[in-house]
């Protein structure tokens, strides 16, 4: 929630991308369902309507036509004159059904007389031949067929207008009659019905899309919250919990999430508590070791001073006690240093120093001047913790001297805002398989290696000291042979301390423990390293 604005924007964008597909799918499915339903409903409605409307119109027209044909032609002679036929047709067409009439009859002379009320639309050419044939066909009369002639009808289009055509031959001889009724009105009605249904379908589609959106939102918002919460959990905010509302599947999922997060948090707390307690144990242990060590250290000098005057059998024993006490001191010091780094209580005490002077002092204090070639110009100033730089240098150079062999070459360069110190030896180099582990604590290149003089913490401590400056140490093999350790430190480490003003105030808090305050009198002994 405290994310910076750009991060939140990015989050929203990626969130949108993530949800689009699911949302889209929901909308599409909803729309498809709505479309199918609406289209089938509309289709059925249209079809039913169409049939009803057409049937009604047709039936009314046919009924009227049949009656008219019978009534108007009954009065006609068997072979009526054309004039009479025309009159009859006109009378038939004048009815309320408003259709055109065509009458066919043979006159006395045997000629076929045609009488039509609409010469253009209704003549023998426009009446479909199949209809004419069906009308003229005489069927044998039997039990199921009471009359030789029947009334036939069909729908046809003339110049894109719908028409209804029917025809019949009077039973017992008489004229043949056809009728033609325009279905334009019905078509118009049906068209507007189709339009309305179309609009309704469209509305249903839009409605379903909106519904889908709403549904998607109600479903996806919890999912999105879940996603955000999961992301936060992944980023290490283990106290992330979801608000659970309702009893649906998503609420269930939220509850599961909360339970998982809780258990994860418990587990992590448990683990870190266990780790903290083991760290505390190491720290306490090294503290406890210090009390007897302090007493022993204070008196070893007394023993050392007297060693020469002691029995030659006892003197070596005294020497051994003295030297091993020193070693034990260094080991405990290193252990304490490591616990401080692990506990995060290590702090920088910054000062402005000339790096070349620092390197020289480090080498000088440990009497390494003969074995080390120094390539550093005076005047390279840096703001760093001089004691920590000394620890790093002592460990790197000491390690090079122990494992690489002299001459060890130390060069100091600047590169932008960084300070580069290279320590190169002329030994056999570091085996490839060991290279990734040189900074590991207590790492021994081979299990069968003889007991080392170092504590096994030297390079690890050097690396931690570089890290606390915001720097880095890398190990590599030189092409000309020998190992190269490169220390890279920022020239001004003050941005890493809580206060940039650490120079003037003693109680500033940006201060560090002092490991070796005693003027380097035990110089060189902290320099160890394992390869």
């Amino acid at each position: 929630m405290s994310e910076p604005a750009p991060g939140r924007l990015r989050g929203v964008a990626s969130g949108l991308l993530r949800w689009t597909s699911l949302r889209l799918r929901l909308v599409v499915v909803f729309a498809l369902v709505a479309l199918t339903a609406a289209v089938s409903a509309s289709g059925i409605a249209y079809w039913l309507n169409r049939n009803t409307v057409l049937d009604r119109t047709q039936n009314a027209a046919l009924k009227d036509f049949r009656t008219q044909l019978e009534e108007r032609t009954r009065s006609l002679p068997l072979h009526p004159a054309c004039e009479e036929l025309r009159d009859a047709a006109r009378q038939m067409a004048a009815g309320p059904q408003n259709y055109a009439v065509l009458l066919l009859a043979k006159d006395g002379a045997g000629r076929t007389c045609t009488a039509t009320t609409d010469r253009e639309l209704l003549n023998l050419k426009t009446v479909p031949a199949t209809l004419q044939k069906a009308v003229e066909q005489r069927r044998p009369v039997d039990a199921s067929n009471k009359a030789p002639y029947h009334l036939y009808w069909q729908r046809q289009e003339i110049e894109d207008d719908p028409y209804f055509v029917a025809g019949a031959k009077l039973n017992g001889g008489g004229p043949t009659g056809y009728m033609l009724k325009s279905l334009a009105t019905e078509r118009q009605d049906l068209n507007s019905l189709a339009w309305s249904l179309g609009v309704a379908t469209l509305l249903a589609l839009v409605g379903s899309a909106l519904l889908a959106q709403a549904a998607a939102t109600t479903v996806l918002r919890p999912v999105q919250r879940l996603g955000t919460a999961a992301r936060e959990l992944g980023e290490g905010k283990l106290d992330t919990r979801l608000r659970v509302t309702g009893t649906d599947e998503l609420a269930d999922l939220s509850r599961t999430f909360n339970r998982t997060a809780e258990r994860l948090q418990q587990r992590v707390e448990e683990l870190s508590a266990r780790e903290a307690s083991s760290r505390r144990f190491v720290a306490d242990m090294s503290h406890e070791l210090r009390t007897p060590l302090t007493a022993i250290t204070a008196v070893t000098e007394v023993l050392e001073d007297e060693a020469e005057s002691l029995d030659p059998m006892i003197a070596p024993a005294v020497q051994l006690v003295v030297s091993e006490t020193r070693r034990l001191n260094d080991l405990v010091e290193n252990l304490m240093e490591v616990t401080r780094f692990d506990a995060g209580t290590a702090r920088l005490v910054l000062d402005d120093v000339d790096v070349a002077d620092q390197v020289t002092a480090c080498i000088d204090a440990r009497a390494w001047l003969d074995a080390v070639e120094l390539d550093a110009e005076r005047g390279i100033m840096a703001r760093l913790d001089p004691r920590r730089l000394d620890v790093i240098l002592a460990n790197l150079i000491g390690n090079a001297l122990k494992h690489g062999g002299s001459p060890v070459r130390v060069s100091v360069r600047t590169e932008g805002d960084s300070l580069l110190v290279r320590v190169r030896d002329h030994g056999p180099g570091i085996p490839e398989e060991v290279l990734p582990h040189v900074f590991d604590r207590f790492y021994k290149a081979s299990a069968s290696r003889p007991r080392s003089e170092g504590s096994g913490l030297g390079l690890s401590i050097a690396l931690e000291n570089a890290h606390i400056h915001g720097g880095e140490i890398t190990a590599a093999n030189s092409e000309e042979g020998g190992a190269v350790f490169t220390l890279r430190l920022p020239r001004d480490a003050s941005r890493l301390t809580a206060d940039g003003e650490s120079g003037s105030e003693a109680g500033s808090g940006a201060s560090a423990e002092r490991k070796r305050h005693d003027g380097g009198s035990d110089g060189g002994t902290t320099a160890e390293g394992e390869r």
Binding site: T291, T294, V302, M336, E505, A506, A512, R514, D518, S521
Partner: protein
């Protein structure tokens, strides 16, 4: 100094107390010891030692409190023995008025060197005087007066003021001051300088939070100025 340095060692752990007493005695000091802060304060009043070596972790009143109580009345040098060299310990110790500190386990030789260095700070070196505004430093009497009033300075504070006053207007780095005053020739703790400057300012400046005499020179160190 002609006479044998007389030390008071306050340390609660029997083994360490015995070992340090043995070691310091061999280095030519006269040592009295106390196991608690209360005993130590009593011995201080009765025997008037030249210097106190004080353990921080003490039962009852701790080393910092002992240090603060001593400083209310006395300006004699105090060297802290810290078992835990964590930040807070050192900073609190220096703020409560200690002159120097050593971290356990300490070699007798090193402690001896520190003791002698601290004691040397009170020795007179020249016999002139200098004036900085209302502040008068009399190098022959080893006294500092402000507006005619005597200031109670510890030997370390006095030595720091003397070293700064010897180079008026010239900035001295913390490492230089550590060499000159504390005689730490290698990797001294710059917080010793900072803490001592703070205490000195509290005594000599009109307004310690905006110093006009002992100025901080960013990126370098400290400088003593004659106020304008």
């Amino acid at each position: 100094m002609a006479h044998v340095p007389f030390l008071l060692l306050i340390e609660d752990d029997d083994a360490i107390r015995t070992a340090l007493e043995l070691s310091l005695s061999r280095q030519g000091h006269r040592v009295v010891t106390a196991a608690t802060g209360e005993d130590g304060l009593k011995l201080l009043r009765e025997q008037r030692p030249d210097l106190i070596v004080l353990d921080v972790m003490l039962p009852g009143i701790d080393g910092f409190e002992v240090c603060r109580r001593i400083r209310r009345t006395d300006q004699l040098p105090i060297i802290l023995l810290t078992a835990r060299n964590d930040d807070i310990d050192v900073v609190v110790g220096l703020e409560s008025g200690a002159d120097d500190y050593v971290v356990k386990p300490v070699q007798g030789r090193v402690l001896d060197a520190r003791i002698r260095a601290v004691l040397r700070r009170g020795e007179r070196e020249s016999s002139d005087s200098a004036t900085f505004g209302s502040l008068v430093i009399d190098r022959s009497a080893m006294t500092v007066t402000k507006n005619g009033e005597d200031l109670q300075l510890t030997p370390t504070e006095l030595r720091l003021l003397l070293e700064l006053s010897r180079r008026p207007g010239q900035a001295l780095s913390r490492q230089q001051l550590l060499r000159l005053v504390w005689e730490h020739d290698y990797l001294g703790d710059s917080r010793l300088v900072d803490a001592c400057v703070q205490r000195l300012r509290a005594k000599v400046e009109d307004v310690p939070s905006s110093p006009t005499l002992i100025r901080t020179v960013r990126g370098v160190g400290y400088r003593l100025d004659t106020p304008q």
